[in-house]
Amino acid sequence: MAKAELKTKQKTVIEDKSSLKGTLASVFFVGAFIIVTWVGVYYLFLERF
């Protein structure tokens, strides 16, 4: 009689291989750009009369 597969003791390991490091780097890249431009414009506003 064939073994029912459900009864195997072998564990199925699901590994989370999705890395978010690239996404984090992209987010910080865009964030840094926004902060630099915002600070630049605000500095211009304070510097001029």
Partner: protein
């Protein structure tokens, strides 16, 4: 809710950046008192020349106010009155302007003085002229065929 560690990092980063930006704007508006130049003071646009302070365009010394001078400009198609004015260096000046006909712009090039002049409304901007030089005033709201000819000059002198 499961959240990735890196996801938490960028959410905190984004939210704190937003909080910092809004705080700076809030302090600027409510503590330093920065506001849009049109303070909702109204005027009859047909009787601008007879009403104070527009009966005396130009630089007027004032006493007992938070500013030393009032710089009054009347705009009309296609010129400003006065056409040229001298301001002493370091003077705290309230620029007061309005228009007699259509919407004009009032942009002192290279400075923060940039207002829209609407018929019936008075626009104001208080500032300290702390850099000497010649400053060109241009109209930056299209007002008609002579729009590009409309200009005036502020000279900040020692």
């Amino acid at each position: 809710m499961h959240m990735h560690k890196l996801e938490k990092i960028w959410l905190i980063f984004g939210i704190s950046a937003l909080v910092v930006f809004l705080t700076v704007i809030g302090v600027s508006a409510f503590y330093l008192g920065n506001k849009p130049p049109s303070c909702l003071t109204t005027i009859d646009p047909e009787k601008v020349d007879q009403q104070k302070p527009f009966d005396k365009p130009g630089l007027n010394k004032v006493e007992g106010k938070a500013w030393d001078y009032e710089l009054v400009f009347v705009a009309s198609a296609f010129s400003y009155n006065p056409g040229k004015v001298e301001v002493p260096l370091g003077a705290k000046v309230k620029v007061i302007a309005t228009t007699k006909d259509v919407i004009h712009g009032f942009n002192v090039a290279g400075t923060n003085i940039n207002m829209m002049l609407e018929p019936g409304y008075v626009s104001e901007y208080t500032t300290t002229f702390d850099k000497a030089g010649e400053y060109l005033i241009v109209c930056n709201e299209y007002c008609g065929a002579g729009h590009h000819l409309m200009s005036s000059m502020i000279e900040v002198v020692k």
